[in-house]
Amino acid sequence: MTTVALKPATMAQALTRAMRDAMAADPTVHVLGEDVGTLGGVFRVTDGLAAEFGEDRCTDTPLAEAGILGTAVGMAMYGLRPVVEMQFDAFAYPAFEQLVSHVAKTRNRTRGAMPLPITVRVPYGGGIGGVEHHSDSSEAYYMATPGLHVVTPATVADAYGLLRAAIASDDPVVVLEPKRLYWSKDSWNPEEPAAVEPLGRAVVRRSGRSATLITYGPSLPVCLEAAEAARAEGWDLEVVDLRSLVPFDDETVCASVRRTGRAVVVHESAGFGGPGGEIAARVGERCFHHLEAPVLRVAGFDIPYPPPMLERHHLPGVDRILDAVGRLQWEAEG
């Protein structure tokens, strides 16, 4: 094995590369969506694919999300592997019926005779100063839909690995791409075969003994920053990056919480009815006797996503995370 120099790349570039490699490796992989062809997508994530593989492989569709996902279902029925781009989180809602009633259920409906290997890419979340409908965190909707896999990368390498794994999966996978990490950079070697992550594995991003921050996607960098800041308060925080919301990696999460005895779930999606409820409930069920304090949640408020000038007050930041850590009943410890 030759040593390959690691090259810095953005998450957007890693996602592009994942599609390119998948298209080159498998002629049944097709990309479709609004503006994905000539323009290369409004985030340029499909940049160059139409030029390299032609318009039939990377197709600008009419402006109709149910139509995009619905035709993708038909294409998958005929043996293709469609990769669909929804332009923004809130613009995936028109496709909700196709997603819930067909994409998620067709394998089961046909007793496995007709799996639908469809990847649905959804740029999601806030923090980019977008106007209304451009910053929704919609993961709760997808998590509550049996039949879907739901993954969300937080690092450049995972963006590549999870998207490759999603496209390779014989089941539908919703890939939630954190918009505000699109331009985050990292050194990363796409030639490394290990770059293709299996779906369903969480990872400990930072080891610590005091408490566990359970997070994913756009909130990972915030949690890592909080963990650094927590050292000043004498807390040594562990940070778990879920990467896959469905299936959920109980093993990694619970192993961490059993070790630390305390946990805070962090995400920017609204708290009520959000992913954190499921996560905190699971941890509560499975780690009850290891818990020194209730599992707390730091989440976006239960409000429609705010306008750009107010979003910083909504998004969980370092202070709000540290505040929650501070409420983990430390006095009760010793």
Partner: protein, 376 residues
């Protein structure tokens, strides 16, 4: 040149040089629904096809009656009958080649059966032992679609995929008059036209969406007129004239196969039975309306033509009935047996590999069932 590039580059021109993208005239449906039976055109029709259609219509009518009877015996959870619409169902099935695909709605088990599916398999959804009783790929019949019009983009996507692969495959999708109001109808037809996908849309306008009559569903001159807005031809046909439906669909299928793109066909027909066995149609329509349509029965229409041309005699009619009876008896017998059920199937097909969570739940149910068996 790729398939999609064939549609030609976009050359926008300022209004001074504006011209329509497509000539609308050939897209407009005729003023009257196309008819063959009872007209001179019927004389040119293929006797073998007519006999085949006749046999299937008689079987179809019997199939509808049998399935409805099975609901009364608790052998089907529900049955949406296509009695009165058999000409559409049967023509849709017969017009397709083996390699083509059929996209039925929940009302179209008969089309699936006429295409060759085992009726017991076709009825699985309505019997309630599973959602789909057949392998769609084996029969090229998509699962019956319950959410209205959602199957239409599937048909477009499949037809498009086949064309991309260079396969000579046409998709035919069925939808009701009510279904044309759904956004998915619109999106599917638009995608089909833009992509010039080899797909045929057959709207069975049976006058009602459950209780809602056509006048509350649309103000269009006809449903076939919707085609113009997508740039595809719209065709209007007497949906109780099996020969006419077959002819119009055959034209559309041929056109699609030759790369001419999609067609929208509206077949004007009538649902003689209630919406389903659970529905009470007397709440929203008068008996004389139903009677008026009975006088335009698809079986009678074809039978008259066949007997007038001496292509069918009493014996032939008898034979068709006997064949239908045999099918019904077999169906009855097999539906009267309880289907095999395995509760573990609940977890088997959600994903290729069950998630750790599903594995846990599977074990929970397994334990419960074991306890139940012990208790019993």
């Amino acid at each position: 040149m790729t398939v999609l590039e064939q549609r030609g580059a976009y050359h926008p021109s300022p209004p001074p040089a504006w011209r329509p993208r497509t000539d609308p005239a050939p897209l407009l449906p005729d003023a009257e629904p196309h008819r063959v039976l009872g007209t001179d055109a019927a004389r040119g029709a293929d006797p073998a096809l007519m006999r085949r259609l006749y046999g299937e219509l008689v079987r179809g009518r019997r199939y509808n009656a049998q399935a409805t009877a099975l609901t009364k015996q608790g052998r089907l959870a529900v049955y949406p009958s296509s009695t009165g619409q058999e000409a559409c169902e049967v023509a849709a099935a017969l017009v397709l080649e083996d390699r083509d695909w059929l996209f039925p709605s929940y009302r179209d088990t008969l089309a699936a059966v006429a295409r060759g599916l085992d009726p017991v398999q076709a009825l699985t959804l309505l019997r309630g032992d599973w959602h789909t009783g057949y392998d769609p790929r084996e029969h090229r019949v998509a699962p019956l679609s319950t959410p209205l019009a959602t199957q239409l983009p599937h048909a477009v996507g499949l037809a498009h995929a086949a064309r991309l692969k260079g396969d000579d495959v046409v998709a035919l999708a069925l939808v009701g008059d009510g279904g044309t109001s759904e956004g998915d109808f619109h999106e599917a037809l638009n995608f089909a036209a833009v992509w010039q996908a080899p797909v045929v849309f057959l709207v069975q306008n049976n006058g009602f969406a459950i209780s809602v009559p056509l006048a509350k569903q649309t103000a269009a001159p006809s449903l076939a007129h919707k085609a113009v807005g997508y740039g595809m031809p719209g065709r209007l046909v007497d949906g109780n004239d099996a020969l006419a439906v077959h002819e119009v669909l055959a034209d559309a299928v041929r056109r699609a196969r030759e790369g001419g793109g999609p067609t929208l066909v509206e077949a004007v027909t009538y649902r003689l039975d209630a919406h389903t066995n659970a529905d009470d149609a007397t709440r929203y329509r008068a008996a004389d309306e139903v009677e008026a349509w009975r006088a335009h029965d698809p079986i009678t229409l074809l039978e008259q033509e066949l007997t007038a041309r001496s292509l069918l005699d009493e014996a032939g009619i008898e034979a068709a009935r006997a064949d239908a009876e045999a099918m019904a008896a077999d169906l009855r017998a097999r539906m009267n047996e309880d289907p095999p059920l395995d509760p573990m199937d609940l977890f088997a097909h959600v994903y290729a590999e069950p998630t750790p969570q599903l594995r846990e739940q599977r074990e929970q149910l397994r334990a419960e069932l074991a306890a139940e068996r012990e208790g019993a």
